[in-house]
Protein backbone atom coordinates (compact mmCIF):
# COMPACT_ATOMS: atom_id res chain seq x y z
CA UNK A 1 0.00 0.00 0.00
CA UNK A 2 2.77 2.40 0.99
CA UNK A 3 4.74 1.55 -2.16
CA UNK A 4 1.72 2.31 -4.33
CA UNK A 5 1.29 5.59 -2.47
CA UNK A 6 4.94 6.53 -3.06
CA UNK A 7 4.76 5.67 -6.76
CA UNK A 8 1.51 7.65 -7.13
CA UNK A 9 3.08 10.62 -5.33
CA UNK A 10 6.09 10.73 -7.62
CA UNK A 11 3.98 10.10 -10.71
CA UNK A 12 1.91 13.10 -9.64
CA UNK A 13 5.04 15.23 -9.20
CA UNK A 14 6.36 14.21 -12.63
CA UNK A 15 3.12 14.56 -14.60
CA UNK A 16 1.74 17.63 -12.82
CA UNK A 17 4.89 19.64 -12.19
CA UNK A 18 7.99 18.34 -13.96
CA UNK A 19 6.70 17.65 -17.47
CA UNK A 20 4.32 20.63 -17.91
CA UNK A 21 6.98 23.12 -16.77
CA UNK A 22 10.15 21.55 -18.09
CA UNK A 23 10.28 23.96 -21.04
CA UNK A 24 10.19 26.98 -18.70
CA UNK A 25 13.29 25.74 -16.93
CA UNK A 26 16.88 25.70 -18.10
CA UNK A 27 18.66 22.41 -18.73
CA UNK A 28 20.54 22.69 -15.45
CA UNK A 29 17.34 23.40 -13.50
CA UNK A 30 15.76 20.27 -14.95
CA UNK A 31 18.85 18.26 -14.09
CA UNK A 32 18.79 19.41 -10.44
CA UNK A 33 15.03 18.77 -10.32
CA UNK A 34 15.50 15.25 -11.66
CA UNK A 35 18.39 14.54 -9.32
CA UNK A 36 16.48 15.62 -6.20
CA UNK A 37 13.43 13.69 -7.35
CA UNK A 38 15.49 10.55 -7.96
CA UNK A 39 17.20 10.71 -4.54
CA UNK A 40 13.94 11.16 -2.67
CA UNK A 41 12.20 8.48 -4.75
CA UNK A 42 14.90 5.89 -4.00
CA UNK A 43 14.84 6.68 -0.27
CA UNK A 44 11.03 6.56 -0.05
CA UNK A 45 10.77 3.42 -2.16
CA UNK A 46 13.28 1.60 0.02
CA UNK A 47 11.45 2.83 3.12
CA UNK A 48 8.09 1.68 1.76
CA UNK A 49 9.31 -1.85 1.04
CA UNK A 50 10.75 -2.12 4.54
CA UNK A 51 14.46 -1.71 3.80
CA UNK A 52 16.17 0.00 6.71
CA UNK A 53 17.71 3.22 5.36
CA UNK A 54 20.31 4.75 7.71
CA UNK A 55 18.91 7.77 9.53
CA UNK A 56 20.91 11.03 9.35
CA UNK A 57 19.86 11.77 12.93
CA UNK A 58 21.61 8.61 14.16
CA UNK A 59 24.82 9.63 12.39
CA UNK A 60 24.59 13.13 13.88
CA UNK A 61 23.84 11.65 17.30
CA UNK A 62 26.95 9.41 17.11
CA UNK A 63 29.20 12.28 16.01
CA UNK A 64 27.89 14.58 18.77
CA UNK A 65 28.31 11.86 21.39
CA UNK A 66 31.94 11.41 20.27
CA UNK A 67 32.60 15.09 20.92
CA UNK A 68 30.32 15.88 23.88
CA UNK A 69 29.76 13.48 26.79
CA UNK A 70 25.98 13.04 26.86
CA UNK A 71 24.35 10.72 29.41
Amino acid sequence: MLTAMVIALFAGAIFLDYIPRRKDRKKRDNLVYGMLLAISFVILLLFSVGVSVPSPSKAIDSVVRMIVPIK
Binding site: L2, M5, V6, L9, F10, A13, D17, Y18, R21, D24, R25, K26, R28, D29, V32, Y33, L36, L37, I39, S40, F41, I43, L44, F47, S48, V53, P54, S55, P56, S57, I60, D61, V63, V64, R65, I67, V68, I70, K71
Partner: protein
Protein backbone atom coordinates in the same frame (compact mmCIF):
# COMPACT_ATOMS: atom_id res chain seq x y z
CA UNK B 1 11.09 38.63 -11.49
CA UNK B 2 9.75 41.06 -8.90
CA UNK B 3 11.19 40.51 -5.44
CA UNK B 4 8.76 39.30 -2.78
CA UNK B 5 8.45 41.68 0.15
CA UNK B 6 6.93 41.28 3.61
CA UNK B 7 6.20 43.96 6.18
CA UNK B 8 7.59 44.07 9.71
CA UNK B 9 4.25 42.92 11.12
CA UNK B 10 4.21 39.91 8.81
CA UNK B 11 7.83 39.08 9.65
CA UNK B 12 7.01 39.43 13.35
CA UNK B 13 4.11 36.96 13.06
CA UNK B 14 6.23 34.50 11.04
CA UNK B 15 8.98 34.50 13.69
CA UNK B 16 6.50 34.07 16.57
CA UNK B 17 4.79 31.14 14.83
CA UNK B 18 8.17 29.71 13.86
CA UNK B 19 9.27 29.68 17.51
CA UNK B 20 5.87 28.36 18.58
CA UNK B 21 6.16 25.58 15.96
CA UNK B 22 6.29 22.32 17.80
CA UNK B 23 7.16 23.80 21.21
CA UNK B 24 3.61 24.95 21.94
CA UNK B 25 2.47 21.34 21.95
CA UNK B 26 5.63 19.69 23.25
CA UNK B 27 5.51 22.13 26.14
CA UNK B 28 9.21 22.93 26.44
CA UNK B 29 11.75 21.54 28.89
CA UNK B 30 10.42 19.21 31.55
CA UNK B 31 13.63 18.17 33.29
CA UNK B 32 13.61 21.33 35.42
CA UNK B 33 10.24 20.21 36.83
CA UNK B 34 8.24 23.03 38.38
CA UNK B 35 11.10 25.43 37.53
CA UNK B 36 10.84 24.85 33.78
CA UNK B 37 9.55 28.41 33.42
CA UNK B 38 12.83 29.69 34.93
CA UNK B 39 14.71 27.62 32.31
CA UNK B 40 12.61 29.32 29.65
CA UNK B 41 13.44 32.79 30.95
CA UNK B 42 17.15 31.92 31.25
CA UNK B 43 17.07 30.52 27.71
CA UNK B 44 15.55 33.80 26.55
CA UNK B 45 18.25 35.83 28.33
CA UNK B 46 20.89 33.61 26.73
CA UNK B 47 19.48 33.96 23.23
CA UNK B 48 19.26 37.78 23.28
CA UNK B 49 22.91 38.42 22.24
CA UNK B 50 22.59 35.93 19.41
CA UNK B 51 19.33 37.26 18.01
CA UNK B 52 21.00 40.67 18.08
CA UNK B 53 23.82 39.15 15.99
CA UNK B 54 21.23 37.87 13.53
CA UNK B 55 19.61 41.31 13.47
CA UNK B 56 23.00 42.97 12.97
CA UNK B 57 23.68 40.72 9.97
CA UNK B 58 20.28 41.77 8.57
CA UNK B 59 21.12 45.43 9.17
CA UNK B 60 24.54 45.20 7.51
CA UNK B 61 23.12 43.53 4.39
CA UNK B 62 19.50 44.70 4.27
CA UNK B 63 18.48 43.37 0.86
CA UNK B 64 20.31 40.09 0.96
CA UNK B 65 19.42 36.72 2.35
CA UNK B 66 21.98 34.60 4.16
CA UNK B 67 23.14 32.70 1.05
CA UNK B 68 23.96 35.91 -0.83
CA UNK B 69 25.78 37.18 2.27
CA UNK B 70 27.88 33.99 2.38
CA UNK B 71 29.08 34.56 -1.16
CA UNK B 72 29.68 38.28 -0.65
CA UNK B 73 31.80 37.62 2.43
CA UNK B 74 33.60 34.36 1.74
CA UNK B 75 33.69 34.05 -2.03
CA UNK B 76 32.29 31.22 -4.11
CA UNK B 77 33.95 28.14 -2.62
CA UNK B 78 33.73 28.79 1.14
CA UNK B 79 30.42 30.57 0.61
CA UNK B 80 29.03 27.40 -0.95
CA UNK B 81 30.27 25.27 1.94
CA UNK B 82 28.26 27.49 4.31
CA UNK B 83 25.31 27.35 1.91
CA UNK B 84 25.39 23.54 1.98
CA UNK B 85 25.49 23.54 5.78
CA UNK B 86 22.61 25.99 6.25
CA UNK B 87 20.52 24.32 3.52
CA UNK B 88 21.04 20.98 5.24
CA UNK B 89 20.02 22.47 8.58
CA UNK B 90 16.84 23.91 7.07
CA UNK B 91 16.04 20.58 5.42
CA UNK B 92 16.76 18.60 8.58
CA UNK B 93 14.86 20.97 10.88
CA UNK B 94 11.86 20.91 8.54
CA UNK B 95 11.95 17.11 8.56
CA UNK B 96 12.15 17.06 12.36
CA UNK B 97 9.02 19.21 12.63
CA UNK B 98 7.20 17.00 10.11
CA UNK B 99 8.06 13.97 12.27
CA UNK B 100 6.95 15.83 15.44
CA UNK B 101 3.63 16.38 13.72
CA UNK B 102 3.17 12.82 12.46
CA UNK B 103 4.21 11.32 15.81
CA UNK B 104 1.75 13.64 17.55
CA UNK B 105 -1.12 12.53 15.32
CA UNK B 106 -0.14 8.88 15.64
CA UNK B 107 0.19 8.90 19.42
CA UNK B 108 -2.82 11.08 20.19
CA UNK B 109 -5.38 10.32 17.50
CA UNK B 110 -4.53 7.69 14.90
CA UNK B 111 -2.38 4.90 16.38
CA UNK B 112 -3.16 2.48 13.53
CA UNK B 113 -2.40 4.86 10.66
CA UNK B 114 1.08 4.74 9.11
CA UNK B 115 2.92 8.03 9.42
CA UNK B 116 3.80 8.45 5.75
CA UNK B 117 0.31 9.57 4.59
CA UNK B 118 0.18 12.09 7.45
CA UNK B 119 3.56 13.45 6.40
CA UNK B 120 2.47 13.65 2.75
CA UNK B 121 -0.62 15.69 3.68
CA UNK B 122 1.41 18.07 5.87
CA UNK B 123 4.13 18.55 3.25
CA UNK B 124 1.65 18.96 0.39
CA UNK B 125 0.07 21.82 2.32
CA UNK B 126 3.39 23.48 3.16
CA UNK B 127 4.69 23.04 -0.40
CA UNK B 128 1.55 24.79 -1.64
CA UNK B 129 2.07 27.64 0.83
CA UNK B 130 5.78 27.91 -0.01
CA UNK B 131 5.01 27.90 -3.74
CA UNK B 132 2.60 30.79 -3.16
CA UNK B 133 5.59 32.80 -1.96
CA UNK B 134 6.89 34.60 1.10
CA UNK B 135 4.20 37.30 0.82
CA UNK B 136 1.45 34.70 1.12
CA UNK B 137 3.29 33.15 4.07
CA UNK B 138 3.29 36.61 5.69
CA UNK B 139 -0.45 36.98 5.16
CA UNK B 140 -1.04 33.46 6.53
CA UNK B 141 1.00 34.31 9.63
CA UNK B 142 -0.94 37.54 10.23
CA UNK B 143 -4.22 35.59 10.19
CA UNK B 144 -3.11 32.58 12.23
CA UNK B 145 -1.15 34.23 15.06
CA UNK B 146 -4.23 35.88 16.65
CA UNK B 147 -6.10 32.54 16.45
CA UNK B 148 -3.21 30.77 18.16
CA UNK B 149 -3.08 33.42 20.91
CA UNK B 150 -6.84 33.21 21.37
CA UNK B 151 -6.68 29.42 21.79
CA UNK B 152 -3.86 29.69 24.33
CA UNK B 153 -5.72 32.36 26.35
CA UNK B 154 -8.98 30.38 26.14
CA UNK B 155 -7.38 27.18 27.43
CA UNK B 156 -5.84 29.12 30.33
CA UNK B 157 -9.14 30.79 31.26
CA UNK B 158 -11.08 27.51 31.00
CA UNK B 159 -8.46 25.69 33.05
CA UNK B 160 -8.35 28.24 35.88
CA UNK B 161 -10.74 26.28 38.11
CA UNK B 162 -8.71 23.08 37.85
CA UNK B 163 -5.30 24.68 38.30
CA UNK B 164 -3.32 23.73 41.37
CA UNK B 165 -1.07 26.68 42.09
CA UNK B 166 0.99 24.67 44.59
CA UNK B 167 2.36 22.67 41.62
CA UNK B 168 4.69 25.50 40.75
CA UNK B 169 6.19 25.52 44.25
CA UNK B 170 8.82 25.39 45.65
CA UNK B 171 10.32 27.96 43.32
CA UNK B 172 13.99 27.15 42.63
CA UNK B 173 13.48 23.80 44.32
CA UNK B 174 15.22 22.02 41.43
CA UNK B 175 19.01 21.75 41.20
CA UNK B 176 20.44 24.66 39.26
CA UNK B 177 22.30 22.28 36.91
CA UNK B 178 18.94 20.89 35.75
CA UNK B 179 17.52 24.38 35.28
CA UNK B 180 20.62 25.35 33.26
CA UNK B 181 20.38 22.16 31.16
CA UNK B 182 16.74 22.98 30.47
CA UNK B 183 17.64 26.52 29.44
CA UNK B 184 20.23 25.24 26.93
CA UNK B 185 17.57 22.97 25.48
CA UNK B 186 15.15 25.89 25.14
CA UNK B 187 17.93 28.06 23.70
CA UNK B 188 18.58 25.63 20.85
CA UNK B 189 15.05 24.34 20.47
CA UNK B 190 13.25 26.59 19.57
CA UNK B 191 14.61 30.08 20.35
CA UNK B 192 17.87 30.22 18.35
CA UNK B 193 16.30 28.28 15.47
CA UNK B 194 15.18 31.71 14.28
CA UNK B 195 18.61 31.91 12.63
CA UNK B 196 16.85 30.33 9.66
CA UNK B 197 14.80 33.48 9.27
CA UNK B 198 17.99 35.02 7.84
CA UNK B 199 17.17 32.92 4.77
CA UNK B 200 14.11 35.15 4.29
CA UNK B 201 15.85 38.35 5.43
CA UNK B 202 16.14 39.65 1.86
CA UNK B 203 12.34 39.72 1.64
CA UNK B 204 11.80 41.95 4.68
CA UNK B 205 11.07 45.59 3.76
CA UNK B 206 14.10 47.86 4.03
CA UNK B 207 12.60 50.29 6.53
CA UNK B 208 12.15 47.47 9.06
CA UNK B 209 14.29 47.70 12.18
CA UNK B 210 15.77 44.17 12.46
CA UNK B 211 16.71 44.59 16.13
CA UNK B 212 13.15 45.47 17.10
CA UNK B 213 11.80 42.73 14.85
CA UNK B 214 13.96 39.93 16.27
CA UNK B 215 13.74 41.09 19.89
CA UNK B 216 10.01 41.76 20.09
CA UNK B 217 9.09 38.65 18.11
CA UNK B 218 11.25 36.41 20.30
CA UNK B 219 9.99 38.10 23.49
CA UNK B 220 6.37 37.66 22.40
CA UNK B 221 6.95 34.00 21.53
CA UNK B 222 8.62 33.47 24.92
CA UNK B 223 5.59 35.07 26.59
CA UNK B 224 3.27 32.61 24.82
CA UNK B 225 5.52 29.68 25.74
CA UNK B 226 5.66 30.93 29.34
CA UNK B 227 1.87 31.01 29.58
CA UNK B 228 1.67 27.53 28.02
CA UNK B 229 4.35 26.15 30.32
CA UNK B 230 2.89 27.61 33.54
CA UNK B 231 -0.58 26.36 32.51
CA UNK B 232 0.80 22.86 31.93
CA UNK B 233 2.73 22.78 35.21
CA UNK B 234 -0.23 24.00 37.23
CA UNK B 235 -2.64 21.57 35.64
CA UNK B 236 -0.46 18.49 35.32
CA UNK B 237 2.23 18.99 37.93
CA UNK B 238 5.96 18.49 37.27
CA UNK B 239 5.89 14.69 37.63
CA UNK B 240 3.22 14.17 34.99
CA UNK B 241 4.87 16.79 32.74
CA UNK B 242 8.03 14.67 32.71
CA UNK B 243 6.34 11.52 31.48
CA UNK B 244 4.08 13.12 28.87
CA UNK B 245 5.36 13.58 25.33
CA UNK B 246 2.78 16.24 24.51
CA UNK B 247 1.78 17.87 27.81
CA UNK B 248 -0.26 20.68 26.23
CA UNK B 249 -2.59 18.16 24.62
CA UNK B 250 -3.08 16.26 27.89
CA UNK B 251 -3.67 19.56 29.68
CA UNK B 252 -6.46 20.48 27.27
CA UNK B 253 -7.89 16.98 27.59
CA UNK B 254 -8.51 17.33 31.32
CA UNK B 255 -10.21 20.72 31.01
CA UNK B 256 -13.81 20.10 31.95
CA UNK B 257 -16.32 22.88 32.49
CA UNK B 258 -19.35 21.47 34.32
CA UNK B 259 -19.51 18.41 32.03
CA UNK B 260 -20.70 20.83 29.36
CA UNK B 261 -17.50 22.02 27.70
CA UNK B 262 -15.16 19.05 27.37
CA UNK B 263 -12.71 17.50 24.89
CA UNK B 264 -11.28 20.81 23.74
CA UNK B 265 -7.93 19.18 22.98
CA UNK B 266 -8.71 19.55 19.28
CA UNK B 267 -7.90 23.24 19.71
CA UNK B 268 -4.37 22.29 20.74
CA UNK B 269 -4.00 20.20 17.57
CA UNK B 270 -5.11 23.28 15.64
CA UNK B 271 -2.34 25.32 17.29
CA UNK B 272 0.20 22.68 16.39
CA UNK B 273 -0.97 22.52 12.81
CA UNK B 274 -0.98 26.32 12.32
CA UNK B 275 2.40 26.97 13.92
CA UNK B 276 3.87 23.76 12.52
CA UNK B 277 2.84 24.67 8.97
CA UNK B 278 4.56 28.05 9.33
CA UNK B 279 7.76 26.49 10.66
CA UNK B 280 7.93 23.79 8.00
CA UNK B 281 7.18 26.35 5.26
CA UNK B 282 10.01 28.62 6.42
CA UNK B 283 12.38 25.62 6.51
CA UNK B 284 11.20 24.52 3.07
CA UNK B 285 11.67 27.95 1.50
CA UNK B 286 15.12 28.38 3.07
CA UNK B 287 16.22 24.88 1.99
CA UNK B 288 14.93 25.44 -1.55
CA UNK B 289 16.60 28.87 -1.71
CA UNK B 290 19.89 27.37 -0.53
CA UNK B 291 19.80 24.50 -3.03
CA UNK B 292 18.75 26.88 -5.83
CA UNK B 293 21.61 29.19 -4.92
CA UNK B 294 24.05 26.29 -4.81
CA UNK B 295 23.20 25.20 -8.35
CA UNK B 296 22.71 28.69 -9.79
CA UNK B 297 18.94 28.35 -10.25
CA UNK B 298 17.35 31.80 -10.55
CA UNK B 299 14.11 31.07 -8.65
CA UNK B 300 13.77 28.68 -5.74
CA UNK B 301 10.14 27.94 -6.66
CA UNK B 302 11.33 25.96 -9.67
CA UNK B 303 12.64 23.22 -7.38
CA UNK B 304 10.19 23.52 -4.51
CA UNK B 305 8.37 20.26 -5.25
CA UNK B 306 11.50 18.04 -5.34
CA UNK B 307 12.88 19.76 -2.24
CA UNK B 308 9.62 19.08 -0.38
CA UNK B 309 9.80 15.44 -1.52
CA UNK B 310 13.37 15.28 -0.27
CA UNK B 311 12.18 16.66 3.07
CA UNK B 312 9.48 13.99 3.08
CA UNK B 313 12.00 11.22 2.41
CA UNK B 314 14.27 12.45 5.21
CA UNK B 315 11.27 12.65 7.57
CA UNK B 316 10.34 9.06 6.74
CA UNK B 317 13.73 7.64 7.72
CA UNK B 318 14.61 9.89 10.69
CA UNK B 319 13.24 7.81 13.56
CA UNK B 320 11.63 4.45 14.10
CA UNK B 321 9.88 5.37 17.36
CA UNK B 322 8.77 8.46 19.27
CA UNK B 323 11.30 7.62 21.98
CA UNK B 324 14.13 7.98 19.46
CA UNK B 325 12.72 11.36 18.47
CA UNK B 326 12.72 12.68 22.01
CA UNK B 327 16.14 11.16 22.74
CA UNK B 328 17.64 13.01 19.76
CA UNK B 329 16.94 16.36 21.47
CA UNK B 330 19.94 15.60 23.74
CA UNK B 331 22.30 15.53 20.74
CA UNK B 332 20.39 18.19 18.84
CA UNK B 333 21.13 20.87 21.44
CA UNK B 334 24.86 20.56 20.67
CA UNK B 335 24.56 19.86 16.94
CA UNK B 336 22.39 22.95 16.43
CA UNK B 337 25.00 25.23 18.02
CA UNK B 338 27.04 25.00 14.79
CA UNK B 339 24.21 26.65 12.85
CA UNK B 340 22.84 28.86 15.59
CA UNK B 341 26.05 30.26 17.09
CA UNK B 342 29.25 29.34 15.22
CA UNK B 343 28.21 30.16 11.63
CA UNK B 344 26.29 33.40 12.49
CA UNK B 345 29.14 34.67 14.69
CA UNK B 346 31.70 34.00 11.91
CA UNK B 347 29.41 35.76 9.41
CA UNK B 348 28.90 38.70 11.76
CA UNK B 349 32.66 39.12 12.40
CA UNK B 350 33.53 38.98 8.70
CA UNK B 351 30.67 41.32 7.83
CA UNK B 352 31.79 43.92 10.41
CA UNK B 353 35.40 43.76 9.15
CA UNK B 354 34.36 44.01 5.51
CA UNK B 355 31.96 46.91 6.05
CA UNK B 356 34.57 48.84 8.11
CA UNK B 357 37.20 48.29 5.43
CA UNK B 358 34.79 49.53 2.77
CA UNK B 359 34.01 52.61 4.86
CA UNK B 360 37.74 53.35 5.36
CA UNK B 361 38.38 52.96 1.65
CA UNK B 362 35.47 55.25 0.82
CA UNK B 363 36.72 57.85 3.33
CA UNK B 364 40.28 57.66 1.90
CA UNK B 365 39.14 58.49 -1.63
Amino acid sequence: MQKEMISMRQAFCIIVLFIGGSSIVMGGSSEAGQDAWISLLLGFLGVIPFILFYARIMRLYPDKDIFEIFETLFGKIIGRVFTVLVSWYALHLGSLVVVNFSEFIEIMAMPETPQLPLMIVMLALTAFLAASGVETLGKWAIVTLPILCLIVVLTVVLALQQMDFSNIQPVLGTEFSKIAAGSLKIFTFPLAETVLFLGLAGSVKRQTNPYKLYFYATAFAVLILLVVMVRNIELLGPALMKIEYFPSYITARIINIGDFLTRIEGSISMNFIMAGITKITVCLIVAAKGIAYLFGISNYRKILIPVSLLMLSISAILYKTAMEMFAFIEAYQYYALLFQIIIPVIVWLFAEIKIRRQKKLAAGR
